[in-house]
Structures are given as structure tokens and as C-alpha cells.
Amino acid sequence: MRSLLLFLFSMTAFAGAPHITDTALSARLKAASAEYEKSNYPKVIELLNPYSEELPNPGLMILANSYSRRGLYADEVRVLRALAGRNERSYQAQMLLGQGLEKQAMITKDADAAKKMRVEAVQVFRNVFRMNPKYQAGFESLYALLLQIRAASEARDILQEGLERFGHTPALMREMCRLDSTGGFVTQALTSCRESIKLSPNKPDSYVYLSQSFFDQRENNSAERELVGAANRFPASEFVQWSAGTVFLKKKNFPASARYFGQAVKADPNSARATFGYAQSLFEAGQEKEALPVYKKACKMDPATVVEPFFAAASRLRQKGSPLASAYKEGASGCH
């Protein structure tokens, strides 16, 4: 009896599904294609979505892309899953699915759900990379996504594979230098950063990471030499100037740090970190009057970081009996 009911139910469900002959589907696909070319995506969706299960690959792609053009990424992913499921060995279909998941994650407000989508996308991109190891876009998507989800160790492994597959290109070596240096692989960083500098002598980042690695090895003189050399070479690099400023600020060489932070602010007037460093350096160097407007600017840029040190500076001035104390306090209060 139960099986009979199930049979009847399935027949009813089958009767409710849209039926279409091959000829009618082909005509519909042709019409959808014409609408797609006219950028009439709602019409494409209207024509193709009811028959998505029966569509050939090009039809699925047009349907998925129409959803994408309308920003309906969840629907796009649904269609791409059908495409990828039907073409399990096609790295192209998997690639599109991976990107679709990334887009869906991008607009998903629920952080956990977005994370799950990205993790799935990582898995999909891994498949792409495995299926076609020479497909750089697949490698790049995988690597970038691993960085995005803060899987630094896995990103480094993939990058190493990338270096084997695509050779030691300047861009890959810059990445290797950065990951080695920030990941604490000091010995490797010294090698990879030197190689990176050799390959891209006009890119400033690797000089900073090399310097950082020297610091990590307690080779402070080499580190400073590298950084000062880079700062002279790249006056327009906020990163290099800010790094040099940070080094001298920590060494309490405030006139030097003020010079570098000042240069960093020139290089990028929107850099909150450089502006804050400049304010601190001027203040510590005894130029409290000059530091005040810089503190105010830094505080507007990044109140969460700056407000407390700004109040602390006001407090120190008050203890010294400085007439600037109240202006500092007022400035810090205006931060919020």
C-alpha cells in the first residue's frame, strides 16, 4: 500500500514537471540566446529557468550568467552546480562554480554561511588546480581565496606549488618573500626576498620584508641598512617610508622617524598609520605645537587607534604645565 502511494505520488510529481520536446527546447534556447544578446536577462531567466534540468551546457551558462548579471548569485550557484555536476571532469565548469560561490559569499551577510561558501570554493578551486595544473587563473583564485580566509600555511604550500608549475616569476617571488617574511620563515625569507629584489628591483615591498627578516635574525645593522637604502630609493612608497618611520620610532630616534613618517604622509595623504606615526614623532621630538593638527587629522582617520594616545599626550602636557594641554584635550575629545 505504502509503495503504491509512493508510486502515485511520484507519478503526480512527474506530471507536474515541465515537459518540453527537444525541438521546443532548442527553439527556447535560441530565443533566450537572442534575448541574452539584447541584455534582456529577466527574459532569459523566464525562458530557461523552468527547464534548467534539461538545458545543454551553453544554455546553463547563459542562464547562470543572466542570474549573475542581475546580482542573483545564489540562483547562479544553483545553476552552476547543475553545470559542474554534469561536467565533473571539466575544470572550466568547476572554475565557474568556484567563482560563483565566492560571489555568493561576497553578498552573504551571515558570516558563518559566507565562510562555509568560501571553504567550499577553496575545495572547488583545488579540484580545478588538480585537473589542470597549468591553468593559472585556477591557481590564482585558490591562492587568493586561501589568503582571504587567512589560511596562510595552506596558501604558502599552494604558492610553492605555483612556483614549481609556473616558474619563479617576479609576482610569485614577491608573494613568496612576503609570506616567508610575515610567516616567520626567516631563513627562507632572506633567500626569497633577495631573489624577489633581483627579479623586481623597482618594487619596494620585498626590501621591507628582507629588512624585517634581518631584524628577526637580530641582524639589526643589516636590517637598517636595507631599510634606509629602500627609503632613499622609494620616496613615493608609503609602505617603505612608514616602515622606516616605525623602526626609528621604536628606537626612539624621533627626528628620524618624523622625517620618514612625514615622507610617508606625502606619499599617501590618506594613510592613517603614517599620519599617526608622524604625530607621535613630532610630539616626542618636542614639536608639540606642530604635532597637534597632525594628531587631530590622525584621530579623524582612525579614532579607535589614536584617541587614547592623543589623551595621553594631553595628560603629559598637563603634567608639564604646558599651555597646549587644554588644546590637546579638546582635540582628543573631538575625536569621537
Binding site: Y36, E37, S39, P58, G59, M61, N65, S68, R89, S90, Y91, Q92, L96, Q99, M106, N132, K134, Y135, Q136, A137, E140, A144, L147, Q148, T169, P170, A171, L172, E175, R178, S181, T182, K203, P204, D205, Y209, Q212, F215, D216, A223, V228, A231, N232, F234, P235, A236, S237, E238, F239, A244, F248, K250, K251, K252, N253, P255, A256, R259, Y260, A267
Partner: protein, 125 residues
């Protein structure tokens, strides 16, 4: 007269090629789809903690198509997957604005002698 006729012919050829180019822009294949996705995702990926991929994106003609299934485009017999995307829509971040945290050992107890600060920097260097 002959010159005028030639001009008309050239005009028509130009018109046809412009029309063909406009048509081909509308057609969807794998590469254009991937490229379009890059554009959408670039806004998200442009994170200061990530470096530039200006040289990472695949260059035309580097793809191996061993796994490409033989799908037919609706409009033609071209593979829907097409050829590789170009490199113009990568995460083209200015590498001068990266943002790691620099950790410098602080000398103790007294600060080391001040190294020479860079002088006479030319911002346009």
C-alpha cells in the same frame, strides 16, 4: 567614380566588421564569464593584506585544453569555454600600499645611536 566606389566598399567592410565585433562581445564563453567574475570579485579582493596579481593572471594562449569538453556554443561551433582570459582585471593593487606589521626588536636599555636619516630625497625619484 572608381574612387568613390572603393570608398563605399571600404565603408561597408568597416560597418560589417564593427557589427561582427559588437555581436561577438555579446556572446558568452568560458573566458568572458571568468573575466566578468574577476571584475565582480576584484572589489572584494582588493584588500591591503593581499598583494598585486598584476603578473599572475594567465596570459592568452597558456591554457591547456586537455580537459575541455566539446561543448558547442549556441551561435557557432566554437567551444563555449573559449581561450584564456587576459590580464587586465586582476587584483591590480599598488604594491606600494601593502600593510604588514613590521616588528622591530627595540634596543634596550638605551636607544642605539641614530642612523643617518635619508637626506635630500626626491619625491619624484
Amino acid at each position: 567614380m572608381k574612387k568613390a566606389r572603393m570608398q563605399i566598399i571600404f565603408f561597408l567592410i568597416g560597418l560589417i566588421s564593427i557589427s561582427a565585433s559588437a555581436q561577438s562581445k555579446k556572446r558568452l564563453d568560458f573566458n568572458s564569464y571568468v573575466q566578468e567574475n574577476y571584475q565582480i570579485l576584484t572589489h572584494q579582493k582588493l584588500d591591503k593584506n593581499q598583494l598585486a596579481f598584476d603578473e599572475l593572471l594567465p596570459k592568452a594562449g597558456t591554457e591547456t585544453t586537455t580537459n575541455a569538453p566539446d561543448f558547442n556554443n549556441i551561435k557557432s561551433n566554437d567551444s563555449v569555454w573559449g581561450s584564456m582570459p587576459g590580464g587586465s582585471n586582476s587584483q591590480n593593487q599598488n604594491s606600494q600600499q601593502t600593510q604588514p606589521t613590521i616588528q622591530v626588536p627595540v634596543p634596550s636599555p638605551a636607544p642605539a645611536a641614530a642612523p643617518a636619516a635619508p637626506g635630500g630625497e626626491n619625491p619624484n625619484q
